[in-house]
């Protein structure tokens, strides 16, 4: 991994230093180009391989027999799905998987609905204190989770929601909304104001304008927010780990956190559990790559 990455500057430097005296006679532009390109391909392939290697290794380990994990080649001699079965029953995997799915689905639905409404209002409607409210909502975007997790814990306790999935969902919604709203606002701002003005001139109500005209046009934005929110909620660990104590209610991430200590010798079981937890995300990513990338890069450039 490290070696592959540190090759980047070295590899870039190489073609520069090649056309020295030794190459002088043979070095037409053509061969130089060819060296350039093969170095480039070599680098790209090496870096990509180093990046995916841990995943390939994870999947390969998950289908090994438990007693043949160590020693031997990278490719297992014999493939078995025992580890998946063990994870399924010993970790009570289906129930945690379902819990995660339910929590994520509810969170995504509520966040997207409310963020769309709010994003539209901040982008297209005029009302007093609009900018002030917007700045306040966004000022906390870089608040570290660790800075509000303790008061959130107290908050849930006083609402008698500590240790419940409902409480966790409410926290997810509350903490995700500002950023989701920011994304939706960005999409709505790109839509022309004339559409709204024309509709108003025709006497359409504000809610009708939103639902019938603007919302359909913002569908790509909605899709981006759905995917982004799905990923962050599915992957969230710290809130779930801190607010839920009952092992029956736990979503996947806190469960996966404990497997190293619990099944330290059963590597196929660990890898099978990881593989299953990653599957939904990777599938969604592969299918909707463009939206995913748009969501994440937009997410990154938020400031």
């Amino acid at each position: 991994m490290t070696t592959a990455d540190t090759q980047v500057p070295a590899g870039r430097a190489r073609p520069r230093s090649r056309p020295g005296p030794a190459w002088h006679s043979a070095s037409t532009m053509r061969t130089r180009r060819r060296i350039w390109r093969s170095t480039g391909y070599l680098l790209l392939i090496a870096i990509s391989a180093a990046t995916v290697f841990p995943f390939v290794w994870m999947v390969l380990t998950s289908v090994r027999r438990r007693d043949t994990v160590f020693g031997g080649g990278i490719i297992p001699d014999e493939i078995t799905f025992d580890a998946y079965q063990r994870s399924w029953s010993q970790l009570d995997y289906p129930s945690h998987f379902l819990t995660t799915l339910v929590i994520t689905t509810i969170t995504v639905a509520v966040v997207v609905a409310l963020a769309t409404l709010g994003g539209y209002a901040f982008a297209k409607l005029r009302f007093p204190f609009r900018n002030l409210l917007y700045v306040i909502l966004l000022s906390t975007l870089m608040l570290p989770v660790t800075a509000i997790i303790l008061p959130l814990f107290l908050q849930l306790r006083s609402l008698h929601l500590l240790g419940t999935r409902q409480g966790l969902i409410l926290v997810y919604i509350g903490t995700s909304l500002p950023f989701a709203m920011f994304l939706m606002r960005a999409f709505f701002t790109t839509l022309p104001d004339e559409l709204i003005q024309a509709a108003r001139a025709d006497g359409a109500g504000e809610f009708t304008i939103f639902r019938k005209i603007m919302l359909p046009l913002a569908a790509p934005g909605v899709a981006t927010v759905v995917i982004f929110q799905f990923m962050t909620t599915w992957n969230e660990f710290l809130y779930a780990q801190t607010f839920l104590q009952n092992p029956d209610y736990l979503p996947l991430q806190p469960v996966l956190y404990t497997i190293v200590g619990q099944y330290s010798t059963d590597w196929p079981l660990m890898c099978a559990s990881l593989t299953m937890s990653v599957l939904p995300i990777v599938l969604v990513y592969m299918r909707m790559q463009r939206r995913f990338v748009a969501g994440l890069t937009l997410g990154a450039v938020k400031s």
Binding site: M1, T2, D5, P9, R12, Y41, L43, I47, S48, T51, P54, L114, A115, G118, A121, F122, L125, R126, F127, L133, L137, T140, M142, L143, P144, A147, L150, P151, L154, Q155, L170, I173, G174, L177, A199, D202, G203, A204, G205, E206, T208, I213, N235, E236, F237, T242, Q253, P254, L256, Y257, I259, W267, M270, L274, V278, Q289, L296, T297, A300, S303
Partner: protein
């Protein structure tokens, strides 16, 4: 486009105020959620950071005592040092390498989409999965890394990566780089694709080679994007928690203790003998928040002066 005529009860209001009422209705749920789950907790944090509290009874206001204690707390300063080292290393590596990678990727290659897809996969995976996976890779006796080193005859290089106080932070930095290089590369790539190709043409006509083109055209035009990447890296570095919590919990012997893991231990873990110090933990979280604020404001000033 069908436009439905509606003359609801709000029609008595003048158009402007009608718009305002609808606006408030639309943002009401967000504002309510924000107030309960972000705004109020944050204000409470401010107060708690000035109090002493172990979770029972009422917090006792102690002014700046927590911050005074912080100044003399060696663990805090150790965590500060580790946090800054981790942040500095990840910021440099996760800016320079993704930039070079993006430049490479921006040339025409067969199968660019495939490389891009593969490089980005780690960014969609949770910290827990990343942490567990790399714990297995780094495992000293049977882990893949040491196995591989032994297979190629480099037995001497095999190390207890996460158990060695000198190696643990670099080992964590590698994992961080593995996870986020693809994301930052994509941000750079988006920036590169926005560069006017005539700039390169002009540079070529002036006789600039690839390296000069990179230095004279690419780097200056990407200044804003680079600023954003650096800022994100700094903020994520100061805030870093999940990966380290999952992989080492701050160990061995606090060698990888950062501000995030220290304060979490103070509030929810076994620090200070099982009695949570909520006040002190919150005070440390305020330090992280202020660090993030400072770099954000600095970046805003720099980018404003540049434009």
């Amino acid at each position: 486009m069908s436009i439905v005529r509606a003359a609801g009860p709000g029609a008595v209001l003048r158009p402007r105020s009608r718009e305002a009422v609808i606006g408030y209705i639309f943002i009401a749920p967000i504002v309510a959620f924000f107030a309960v789950f972000v705004g109020y907790p944050f204000l409470r944090s401010l107060y708690l950071s000035l109090s002493e509290w172990s979770g029972f009874g009422e917090p006792r206001f102690v002014g700046l005592d927590n911050f005074q204690f912080m100044v003399g707390d060696p663990v805090f300063w150790k965590a500060v040092g580790t946090t800054f080292m981790f942040t500095a290393a990840t910021t440099i590596l996760q800016t320079v390498l993704p930039l070079l990678l993006a430049v490479l990727m921006n040339c025409r290659w067969r199968g660019t989409v495939i490389y891009r897809t593969l490089l980005f996969v780690p960014a969609v995976i949770s910290f827990v999965v990343t942490g567990v996976l790399w714990q297995l890779i780094y495992e000293p006796n049977l882990g893949t890394l040491n196995e591989a080193l032994r297979t190629v005859g480099l037995d001497g290089l095999a190390q207890p990566w996460l158990a060695d106080p000198h190696l643990v932070v670099p080992a964590l930095i590698v994992v961080s780089l593995w996870q986020s290089a693809g994301l930052y590369m994509l941000i750079f790539l988006a920036g590169l694709q926005g560069i006017d190709p005539t700039l390169y043409e002009a540079a070529r006509i002036d006789g600039a080679g690839p390296v000069q083109q990179f230095r004279r055209v690419t780097v200056p035009t990407l200044r804003t994007v680079t600023g954003v990447v650096v800022l994100l890296n700094l903020i994520n570095g100061f805030k870093t928690f999940d990966l380290i919590y999952v992989m080492t919990g701050g160990g061995p012997n606090r060698a990888s203790e950062v501000l995030g893991t220290y304060l979490y231990g103070l509030a929810f873990g076994n620090e200070s003998g099982g009695t949570p110090s909520f006040g002190y933990a919150t005070a440390i979280s305020m330090v992280i928040f202020v660090l993030c604020m400072i770099v954000t404001l600095a970046q805003l000033r720099i980018s404003r002066r540049a434009s």
